[in-house]
């Protein structure tokens, strides 16, 4: 009787989780199924299972549809942006959390205010600036824009974590003879690794899927990133649904791998501040 009651009490939660899984996982499975079918097959019956499975869709997409180029572009832009934003953000967070200086609070406010502004608001001025510096329509320009957009969140997460590290550690390192930069490099960064890692994964996911800045700041096909490449198949008159699905699967794969490998570290890093 008690056992039965226990089940009953858990039913709403289980029902909610089931619903959530269907809502989030359903479209994913649907796209995965479509990625293995041809467009005529899909138009004939959108919900059928991929029998027979056309694995060569992936090879087609990679070779004929230039997904290889888009993938490489995405990789270059996102990896360089994540590296830069992590390094700059960590240094800024270290300074803001560790040093008492005159404009500390002002500097923090200016950096963090970057989180308040919607990206649409900045896109025009960003376009102008990149044009002036000859960075418009270049991978470097897009990468730099990404660094700027993600810096606020990165500093916000890292500063919260770094501020919890005991001051004694830094004093001890100073007594041991280390300079301010060495202390950052050898103490803050290694100890703050869980938080640093969280920002790396978060930034990677966000930037890998970024569409708005990419479509405004990149026009040449050679320099398109994956989200733009996928849109390429959405012509005004025809829609190559099969190729889009295949492209989406290719695009999602690095994120899924990343999350599968590091989900535990990610959750640990995000909750570290709250629990302690």
């Amino acid at each position: 009787m008690r056992l039965w009651l226990g089940y009953l009490r858990r039913t709403p939660l289980v029902a909610f989780l089931l619903l959530y899984t269907v809502v989030t996982g359903g479209p994913f499975l649907w796209v995965a199924a479509m990625s293995l079918r041809t467009t005529p097959e899909i138009l004939d019956n959108p919900y059928a299972l991929p029998i027979p499975a056309h694995w060569d869709n992936f090879i087609d997409a990679w070779t004929t549809s230039r997904y290889g180029v888009y993938f490489l572009n995405s990789l270059i832009v996102v990896v360089s942006a994540v590296l830069l934003v992590t390094l700059i953000g960590a240094m800024a967070a270290h300074c803001l959390s560790r040093y008492r200086f005159r404009a500390n609070r002002l500097a923090r406010m200016i950096i963090l205010s970057g989180m308040i502004l919607p990206p649409q608001l900045m896109i025009l001025s960003l376009f102008q600036i990149l044009l002036q510096f000859g960075l418009y329509n270049t991978l470097a320009g897009l990468s730099i824009a990404y660094v700027a957009t993600q810096l606020a969140m990165t500093v916000y997460i890292l500063e919260g974590f770094f501020a919890q590290l005991p001051q004694d550690l830094f004093d001890a390192a100073r007594m041991d003879g280390y300079s301010d930069f060495e202390i950052f490099w050898r103490i803050t960064l290694p100890i703050g690794l869980p938080a640093v890692f969280t920002t790396v994964v978060l930034n990677f996911i966000i930037l890998w899927n970024e569409f708005l800045y990419a479509i405004v700041l990149i026009t040449e096909d050679d320099k398109r990133t994956l989200p733009l490449g996928i849109m390429h198949f959405m012509g005004s008159h025809q829609l190559d649904v099969g190729m889009i699905a295949t492209g989406l699967m290719i695009s999602m794969s690095p994120i899924i791998v990343l999350y599968a490998l590091f989900s535990e570290t990610l959750i640990k890093g995000m909750t570290a501040g709250a629990v302690r």
């Binding site: 004093d171 001890a172 100073r174 007594m175 041991d176 003879g177 280390y178 060495e182 100890i191």
Partner: protein
């Protein structure tokens, strides 16, 4: 080997109206073990951090071997510090923790290895060299923190309450270990604590601080026997010195103090020092161990009896504490008497006090009236 001299050292923290440290002057001799003792917030840690170079000096000077250090960065002062939290680098093994300071100082690899092993052997850390701090017990962490200071072979050791995170048993053994190491190395040491037992047992000299100022500097027994004011009198000793209200009066050629309904002649203090206080209220201090249930024979001729009610009897095994209230004035006293007592709480007793052990303090300033003869 170094002499550390502080001259009128002051510290004002940004945004604070009061000085955290007020004109502290102190000379620590070469090889000396100096303890800075005081309640929390008395400025002792600020003094230590200024010596270390972790905190800027607001005014006055810190010098080591005659050289003013005010603007020398912490890393160039050749000082090692042991922190209350140990401050071990959590991402490094014990070996790396010990070697970290040496590596920065361009010591050759083989020499680092030799010194790390030597210190590890000295402190019994050899089996743990490959472990990280989280896999060590509190005592082991403490030894790593100590080892990290020793391995550098600095001119001065600074300790900031290094034992306060240990349990009582471990604290006693670590205390002895620390004393032993310091004697072997002979390095000038400045040790901050709020624990009077640590101060009494470890220090060659004690510097007692209160409210950012030095109150008294001296050897442990000197300070214990001749406290400069009522603060020191209460701070050193457990249970602390009893302080009761009294009046100083002339009596014949000399002086006597009237308190709790009795009159006790003062023989210990030169009369010329007492003259200014005659006829005025003073504070009488007597340590719990100078109160007796029965007068021992060596007290002949210098004892007085004080009627009191017994509020509580606290047998501690080796001794018994009596909590008393004087019959006149109802002031609380604590007496430390022998373990074999038949006294019970609620009863009355004529407690015997050693008149030669009486301390007198100015009621207004709290300063001791009688400097040691």
């Amino acid at each position: 080997m170094a002499v550390v001299t502080l001259e009128r050292l002051s510290k004002r923290y940004e945004g604070a109206s009061d000085l955290a440290v007020k004109e502290v002057s102190l000379a620590v001799k070469d090889g000396e073990f100096m303890v800075l003792l005081g309640p929390s917030g008395c400025g002792k840690s600020s003094v230590l951090r200024m010596i270390a170079g972790l905190e800027s000096v607001s005014s006055g000077t810190v010098s080591i071997d005659g050289r003013v250090m005010n603007h020398v960065p912490a890393k160039d002062r050749d000082i090692a510090m042991v922190f209350q939290s140990y401050a071990l680098y959590p991402h490094m093994t014990v070996r790396e923790n010990l070697a970290f300071g040496l590596r920065r100082r361009a010591v050759a690899g083989a020499e680092i290895e030799r010194r790390v092993h030597q210190v590890a052997a000295k402190l019994g850390l050899t089996p743990f060299l490959g472990r990280k701090p989280h896999a060590l017990s509190g005592g082991q962490r403490q030894r790593v923190a100590l080892g990290r200071a020793i391995v550098r072979n600095p001119r001065v050791f600074l300790f900031d309450e290094p034992l306060s995170n240990l349990d009582a048993a471990l604290r006693a053994t670590t205390r002895n270990e620390l004393i032993k190491q310091q004697h072997e190395l002979g390095t000038t040491t400045i040790y901050v604590t709020h624990d009077q037992v640590e101060a009494m047992t470890m220090g060659d000299r004690i510097c007692i601080m209160n409210g950012g100022e030095t109150v008294q500097i001296g050897s442990p027994l000197e300070v214990y026997r001749n406290p400069a004011d009522t603060f020191v009198a209460r701070f050193l000793g457990s249970p602390p010195m009893n302080l009761i209200e009294a009046r100083l009066e002339r009596s014949g050629d000399g002086f006597a103090v009237q308190s709790a309904g009795i009159t006790v002649p003062i023989s210990r203090v030169p009369p010329q020092r007492l003259a200014a206080h005659a006829g005025r209220p003073v504070t009488l201090g007597i340590r719990p161990e100078d109160l007796y249930e029965r007068p021992p024979t060596e007290l002949a001729g210098r004892s007085a009896q004080l009627p009191a009610r017994i509020l509580a009897v606290e047998p501690l095994g080796a001794e018994t504490l009596l909590v008393l209230a004087t019959k006149a004035g109802n002031e609380e006293l604590i007496a430390r008497i022998g373990r074999e007592t038949l006294l019970r709480s609620g009863g009355e007793v004529m407690i015997v006090l050693d008149t030669a052990a009486i301390h007198l303090f100015d009621r207004d300033t709290g300063k001791a009236i009688a400097e040691p003869a």
